[in-house]
Amino acid sequence: EFRRFSLERSKPGKFEEFYGLLQHVHKIPNVDVLVGYTDIHGDLLPINNDDNYHKAVSTANPLLRIFIQRKEDADYSAFGTDTVTRKKNVLANVLRPDNHRKKPHIVISMPQDFRPVSSIIDVDILPETHRRVRLYKYGTDKPLGFYIRDGSSVRVTPQGLEKVPGIFISRLVPGGLAQSTGLLAVNDEVLEVNGIEVSGKSLDQVTDMMIANSRNLIITVRPANQRNNVVRNSRTSGSSGQSTESSLPSSTPNIVTNFLQGEEESDEEDIIIEDSGEPQQIPKAVRTSESLESLTQMELLHESTQNGFLPSSETNLNHSAGSVSMEYEEHHPDHKSLEDGTIITL
C-alpha cells in the first residue's frame, strides 16, 4: 500500500506524532510497525526516535522514502550498513526477500526488542586498565556462571612492587551469562563488587557479596588480557565510518535510564500471598498523603524495569491486514531464515 503525504520540513515534530500519523494514514491504529527510510547512500535505516526521525527529515531530498513493516513479520536484515553495497536494490531487498537466499543474513532485531544482558559502564571515570561490567540477571534462568578463587596480584606501592592477595575469576561456565557477554575472562582480577572494594575481604565474603548482589551485579575487574581495553581518547564518534546516520544513538540513552531505575528497584520484588490468594509484588510503603499518585508511579517504574519485553506480542493483528508500508508491497517474511537466525544479544 503506498501513501504519499507532506510534512513541514522545518517543524517535523516528535517521532511519536509521526508514528501516530503513519498509523492514521494507513488506518492501522493498533498495529505495531517498524519504520525505515533510505538515506543518501541508499541504506535502509530505521526511524524509531526523535533523533533519527529529525535526521531523516533533514536529509530528505526532497522526497523522504519511508518503509513500514508489520513488526512481527519484519525482516530485520533489510536494515544496516550492508545495504550500501546493494544501493540500488533497497526496494528489491524489501520486496523480494528471496534474493537473500544466496547470502544468508544474520538477523538483528531492533534495539527496543533487546534487553541488556551486560554492559561496560563508567568508562569515563575508571582507569583504562580496569573494566566495570554490569550483568543483568532479571528473571532469566540463565546461570550467572562463573567461579572465583584466591590469588595474588602485584601492586605498585610507595615501597615498590608488592604482592598482595586478590580475588580472581577462576572459571566460566559454558553457556552462562558471564561467558556469553565476553566481558569477563578467567584470571581477571576482581577489584570491586557493586562499588565496594574487595581488598581485605576473604573469598567467602566476596562470594557472599556477589550472590547477594546477583540480581544486579556490577564487577570491576582488571582484565588479564589488557589488549582490548577501551581507549578513551581515540574513541570514534560513530560505529560506521561510511555512514554516520547508521549509528543508533537511541539505544544508549534507553539503556542508561533503564539501569538507573534498575539500580534501586532491582531487588525490591518480594512477593506476598494474602489469604492464599494470588502472589503479588510487595509495594514500597509510602506516606498516605502521596499514596495513590506514587503508587501508580511505582507501577510505571516497575514496568520499565522489565525493559526489553515490549508488549508488541500482546497485540492481536488480523493477518489479512498484512504488513503496511508507505510504498506498499506485500511482504512475506522469510520464516525459515527467522528461525535459523542467530539471536544476538548486546
Binding site: I196, S202, R215, E274, P283
Partner: protein, 940 residues
C-alpha cells in the same frame, strides 16, 4: 555501647599444670595454650596469657609471696605477680628468663625438669636434664654460678658399684627440708637421691634407690621422706644425723604383686591420731587397671582408689600450713584432671566430693545448644534451686577450701539463668548472674524414652572385697548413649515455669515445674509434617521409643506432653507462648502448632519445595561431599598401606614401588595445585536444597488481617526466604478447654533474595518490640501500643527489612551482605540503658555475623550504630554457640568447655573484681631461719 570480654566461665581447655599457694590460698592452672588462671574464693579469679602460647609445664608459687613462676615447654621461666592497682589486684607478668648453659653444651644441659622456689624467697633451684642443679636469683633470674650443684660433685662419695651402674641422669625432684632450709633433697631419675647442704655445698647423705624415681615427699618433721617409683612402689627413707649409709625403712608395692604402673606423686600426711594419710597417684596393676586414672588414699584400714574420668594432670592436698602445727591434718584433696576439677573432702566419713563453685565442666556431655533467660523472678529461682539441692545430697557440706582473696564485685542486680542443652539429653541450669557460673539444677529428658542403657545398672556399686577399691568420681561423661537424645532447642517461660525442650529425633517435650517427686504418664502426640506430600521416604534415624505407663520424675521440671515430629528430623526452631498455652516447632520439613492445654495438634504446615528431595532423606545423605571426601581419604590410606606392605615385601620391587609412590604423590600434589579453592557465583533459586528448613518461629499479637482488629498470630521463617503468617483464634480463658484453637494462613512473604530468615519481630505503635507473653500480666512491661500501626521486621542472613502491617509493604531495609560480605548468624533485641541516667534506655538489635563481628543496629530505623570484632571468623563453633541476653550481654564457647562472657553495654558488666591481701607474716620460723644462703646472695 562498647565491647568488653569480661570473664571466662567453665573449665579451662587442655589444662597442663597445677599450682597451689597455702599462703595465699590460691590455686593456679596453666593450659596448653599458655594461659594461666588463678582461683581463690568464689569470685576471685585472675587470668594471664603467656605471649608465647606455649604449654605451661609447671607452676610454682614463691613461698609467702604474691608471686609465682611458670615453666613453659620452650624451657622459659616466667615470673608473675599479683599487684594491687586502684583497689583491685591484677596478675602481671614481670620477667622472663631462659637458662643458658656454657657455650658448646648440649641443650639438655639446661633443659629444666624440676623447679624449687626456696623458702628464703630469693632463689630458685632449677634441676635439669643433665643432672646439674642451677641456682637463679629472684626476681632478676640472675644465675649464681658459684652455687650450681654439678652432678660430678654429687657422685663423689657414691659407692663405686652403684655409680658404675647408673649415672645421675635428669633431676626428677627437688625438695626443701621442712625444718632446715639449708638442706635440699635432690632426686635423680635413675634412683639416686642425695641430701645437699647448701651452706657447705656438699652432700650429707646418699640414698641409693634401686628403682627409677618418679617423685619425693618429705614428712612433716623432716625425719623421713618418701620416694615413689616407676614400678609402682614407694619407699620410706630415714634421715639421721650419723654418717651411716641410709637403708630404706620400708619398700611397698601397694597394688602388687603383679607389675604395676608408676606412682608419679605421693603425699604422706600425719594426723593427730597417729595414722598417716598416704595419698598417691597411679600405681594400678598394669594389666587389668593400667588404663585407669587413679589417685589412692590410704588412711589406716580405709583405702579408696578414686577413679577419674580423664587423665590426672596434677593434684595437691590442703593441710594445715601453720608452721607451729604439729601435724598435717589434711582436709581436702584437689585434683585437676584433664576435663574437670574434683575436690575430695578428707575430713568427712566416706570422703565425699565437694561441689566446686567455679570451673564447672560445661562439657560433661557436649553442649548442643544454649538459651539465656534474664531477670528470673525470685519465686522461680528458689524453686529451681530447691529442685537442684535435692539432686546434690551426695556432696560434702564442707565450705570451699580454696578461699584466698576477697571478692569486691557488687552483687549482681538480677538473677540470670543460662540453660545448656547437651548431647546426652540433659538440660543444665546455670546461675549466670555473676562471675562464677554455677550449676543450679540438671534436668534429664532420658526418662521419657526407652534407651539401650538402663539407668538402673549402676557402674559405681562395687562389692566389698573388690580390689583395687576403685570409686568413680567426677561428672565428665562425653559418651552419649544415643545421639537422638540430644537437645537442640530450649524455651523457658520465666513467669509460668513452662519449659519446652526439643531434640535431635524430632521430639518436643513440654514441662512444668513441680516441687515434688511425681509419677505420671506423659501424653503423646504425633505431628506428621508431610501430610499432603507423597512419595517421600525418610532415610534418617528413627524416632525414639517412649516408655509405656507412668514414669517417675524427681522434683523439678516434669514433662507432661511429648509431641513427636514425623519424619523425626532435628527440631530446628521452637517457640512457646505460655499465655495462649501453645507451642510451635519446626524441622527441615515444616512446622506445627500444638495446644498443650487441650493436648491437641492445631495444625501442621509442610514447607518443602516439591523438588527438594534431599531434605527428606535424612541427615546423612546431606553431607554428600563430606562422604565423598571421606571415601577419598580412606582410599588414599588404603593405597598407602598397600604400597608400604609391598615395600616391605619383595626387595627387588622396592625402588619401583617407591617410584610409583613418588609419582602418585606428585600427581596428587599437582592435582591440588590445579584445582584451587574456588567458589561458585550463582543466584539462589527456589530449587536450592533445604529451602523448607524452618529457621525461626515467633508468636505475636498484632494486626495481621486488618488495621482495626488485632489477633494472635504465629510467624515462621524458612531457609528459602519465605515467611508464613498464621492467624490464630485462641478461645478466652473461661472457655479455653471447651473450644478448639483455630489457625488460618493469612500471609506468605517470599523474599526475592531468598536468604534464610533468621529472625522475625513485630514492633508496636511506638516501634517497641512486642513484650514477651505474660510480661505485661506480671507488670514488668508496659502493654504494647495497639493504636499506632505495627511493623514487621524480617531478618534474613543477608538483609534486615521492615514491612508495614497489616498490609505488607516494604518500608526500610538494611543490606548487610551486599555491602560487607557478612551474613547474619544470630540476632536478638537487646535493651541498652544509659550509664549516665536511669531514665533512658533503648532497644536495639544485636547481630552476630559469620565474620564474628557484632553489630548494633537501631530500631526501628535500622541504622548501624557500631560494630565490634568479637569472635575470630575461623571459630565456627564459637559463632554458632553465641547466645545474647536481653540486656546486651552474651556468651560464646571459646573451647568445648568454656564460655566467654562479653558485654555490649557499659551499664552493667559482670567481671571479676577482687583483691588478694598479703597475710601478715606471723611468728614465722622462716624469718628466724634466714640463713647464710641469703647473706651469700646479698654479697654476690
Amino acid at each position: 555501647f562498647s565491647l568488653y570480654q569480661t570473664v571466662e566461665h567453665g573449665f579451662p581447655h587442655q589444662p597442663s599444670a597445677l599450682g597451689y599457694s597455702p599462703f595465699l590460698r590460691l590455686m593456679a592452672i596453666g593450659t596448653r595454650s599458655g594461659a594461666i588462671k588463678l582461683y581463690g574464693a568464689p569470685g576471685v579469679e585472675f587470668m594471664g596469657l603467656h605471649e608465647e602460647n606455649n604449654t605451661v609445664m609447671q607452676i610454682h608459687f614463691i613461698p609467702d609471696q604474691c608471686q609465682l613462676v611458670t615453666l613453659l615447654d620452650d624451657n622459659s621461666l616466667h615470673l608473675w605477680s599479683l599487684k594491687q592497682h586502684s583497689g583491685a589486684s591484677e596478675l602481671q607478668e614481670e620477667r622472663r628468663f631462659t637458662l643458658k648453659g656454657p657455650p658448646g653444651s648440649p641443650p639438655s644441659a639446661t633443659q629444666i625438669t624440676a623447679v624449687l622456689p626456696h623458702s628464703s624467697r630469693d632463689v630458685l633451684y632449677l634441676g635439669t636434664e643433665s643432672g646439674s642443679v642451677f641456682v637463679a636469683e629472684l626476681p632478676s633470674f640472675r644465675v649464681l654460678e658459684d652455687r650450681t650443684v654439678p652432678s660430678e660433685a654429687v657422685l663423689q662419695r657414691v659407692p663405686d658399684d652403684y655409680c658404675n651402674r647408673r649415672s645421675c641422669e635428669l633431676v626428677e625432684a627437688l625438695r626443701e627440708h621442712p625444718k632446715n632450709p639449708n638442706l635440699i633433697l635432690i632426686g635423680y631419675s635413675r634412683g639416686l637421691i642425695v641430701l645437699w647442704d647448701l651452706q657447705n655445698s656438699q652432700v650429707t647423705h646418699h640414698f641409693l634407690g634401686s628403682q627409677q624415681l618418679e617423685n619425693l615427699y618429705w614428712q612433716r618433721d623432716g625425719s623421713k621422706f618418701i620416694s615413689c617409683h616407676y614400678d609402682g612402689s614407694y619407699t620410706q627413707w630415714p634421715v639421721s644425723n650419723d654418717n651411716r649409709q641410709p637403708e630404706p625403712l620400708e619398700n611397698l608395692v601397694p597394688y602388687g604383686p603383679f607389675p604395676c604402673k608408676a606412682i608419679s606423686k605421693i603425699y604422706w600426711q600425719t594426723t593427730k591420731n597417729g595414722l598417716p594419710y598416704i595419698i598417691f597417684q597411679g600405681g594400678m596393676p598394669r594389666a587389668s587397671y593400667g588404663d585407669r586414672h587413679s589417685i589412692s588414699v590410704i588412711h589406716g584400714s580405709q583405702q579408696t582408689a578414686f577413679d577419674f574420668t580423664s587423665r590426672v594432670i596434677d593434684f595437691f592436698i590442703i593441710f594445715s600450713s601453720e608452721p607451729t602445727a604439729e601435724f598435717d591434718d589434711p582436709s581436702a584433696m584437689v585434683v585437676l584432671a584433664e576435663e574437670e576439677l574434683v575436690v575430695i573432702d578428707l575430713k568427712s566419713a566416706g570422703w565425699p566430693a565437694v561441689q566446686a563453685p567455679y570451673l564447672a565442666s560445661l562439657h560433661c556431655s557436649a553442649i548442643t545448644c544454649s538459651h539465656h533467660v534474664s531477670n528470673i523472678p525470685l519465686k522461680l529461682w528458689e524453686r529451681i534451686i530447691s529442685a537442684g539441692s535435692k539432686q546434690n545430697v551426695h556432696y560434702s557440706n564442707m565450705p570451699w577450701p580454696i578461699d584466698g582473696g576477697t571478692n569486691l564485685a557488687p552483687d549482681p542486680p538480677q538473677r540470670d539463668l543460662l540453660l545448656t542443652g547437651h548431647e546426652d539429653g540433659t538440660v543444665r541450669f546455670w546461675d549466670a548472674s555473676g562471675v562464677c557460673l554455677h550449676l543450679l539444677y540438671k534436668l534429664s529428658t532420658v526418662r521419657v524414652f526407652l534407651t539401650d542403657a538402663d539407668p538402673n545398672d549402676n557402674m559405681n556399686t562395687l562389692g566389698e572385697d573388690e580390689w583395687p577399691p576403685l570409686r568413680k568420681v567426677g561428672t565428665f561423661d562425653p559418651y552419649s548413649d544415643d545421639p537422638r537424645l540430644g537437645i537442640q532447642k530450649i524455651y523457658l517461660c520465666k513467669y509460668s515455669g513452662y519449659l519446652a525442650v526439643a531434640g535431635t529425633a524430632g521430639q518436643v517435650l513440654v514441662m512444668e515445674l513441680n516441687d515434688e517427686d511425681a509419677e505420671h504418664v506423659v501424653d503423646h502426640a504425633e505431628a506428621d509434617l508431610l501430610q499432603d506430600q507423597e512419595g517421600y521416604r525418610w532415610k534418617g534415624h528413627e524416632k525414639l521409643k517412649t516408655r509405656d505407663g507412668p514414669v517417675r520424675f524427681e522434683a523439678g521440671f516434669q514433662p507432661f506432653v511429648l509431641v513427636q515430629c514425623q519424619p523425626p528430623a532435628v527440631v530446628t526452631s521452637l517457640a512457646l507462648h505460655s499465655e495462649w498455652k501453645l507451642v510451635a516447632f519446626g524441622t527441615s520439613h515444616g512446622f506445627g502448632l500444638f495446644d498443650h492445654q487441650q493436648k491437641r495438634l492445631v495444625f501442621v504446615k509442610c514447607t518443602l519445595h516439591p523438588s527438594d528431595q534431599l531434605a527428606l532423606e535424612g541427615p546423612l545423605s546431606r553431607v554428600k561431599s563430606l562422604k565423598k571426601s571421606l571415601r577419598q581419604s580412606f582410599r588414599r590410606i588404603r593405597r598407602s598401606r598397600v604400597s608400604s606392605r609391598k615395600r616391605r615385601g619383595a626387595g627387588g620391587n622396592t625402588s619401583e614401588v617407591q617410584e610409583a609412590n613418588a609419582k602418585f604423590d606428585q600427581d596428587a600434589l599437582q592435582e591440588m595445585e590445579l584445582a584451587p579453592v574456588q567458589r561458585k557465583i550463582e543466584a539462589r533459586s527456589a530449587e536450592d536444597s533445604f529451602t523448607g528448613f524452618v529457621r525461626t518461629l515467633y508468636f505475636a499479637d498484632t494486626f495481621l488481617r486488618d488495621s482495626s482488629r488485632h489477633c494472635p498470630s504465629l510467624w515462621a521463617g524458612t531457609n528459602g526466604g519465605t515467611v508464613y503468617a498464621f492467624c490464630l483464634r485462641v478461645p478466652p480463658a473461661e472457655r479455653r478447654m471447651d473450644e478448639p484453637v483455630r489457625a488460618e494462613q493469612a500471609k506468605e512473604i517470599q523474599l526475592m533474595h531468598r536468604a534464610p530468615v533468621v529472625g522475625i519481630l513485630v514492633l508496636d505503635g511506638r516501634s517497641t518490640p512486642l513484650p514477651e507473653p505474660l510480661e505485661v500480666a506480671h507488670d514488668l512491661s508496659k502493654s504494647p501500643d495497639m493504636q499506632g500501626s505495627h511493623q514487621l521486621l524480617v531478618v534474613s542472613e543477608e538483609q534486615l527489612k521492615v514491612f508495614t502491617l497489616p498490609k505488607v509493604s516494604s518500608k526500610l531495609k538494611l543490606k548487610l551482605t551486599a555491602l560487607e560480605g557478612c551474613r547474619v548468624r544470630k540476632v536478638t533485641v537487646a535493651n541498652f540503658g544509659s550509664c549516665k541516667t536511669n531514665e533512658y534506655s533503648e532497644n536495639d538489635l544485636a547481630v552476630l555475623t559469620n565474620l564474628g563481628d557484632i553489630q548494633i543496629i537501631s530500631l526501628p530505623f535500622l541504622k548501624l550504630q557500631i560494630r565490634y570484632p568479637c569472635i575470630r571468623k575461623e571459630d565456627v563453633s564459637g559463632i554458632a554457640s553465641c547466645v545474647f541476653t536481653k540486656y546486651g550481654q552474651g556468651f560464646y564457647l571459646i573451647s568445648p568447655s568454656e564460655f566467654e562472657r562479653f558485654s555490649l553495654s557499659t551499664k552493667w558488666l559482670v567481671e571479676p573484681q577482687c583483691i588478694v591481701d598479703v597475710p601478715e607474716l606471723t611468728s614465722n620460723n622462716h624469718v628466724n631461719n634466714r640463713s647464710g644462703v641469703e647473706n651469700a646472695t646479698r654479697k654476690s
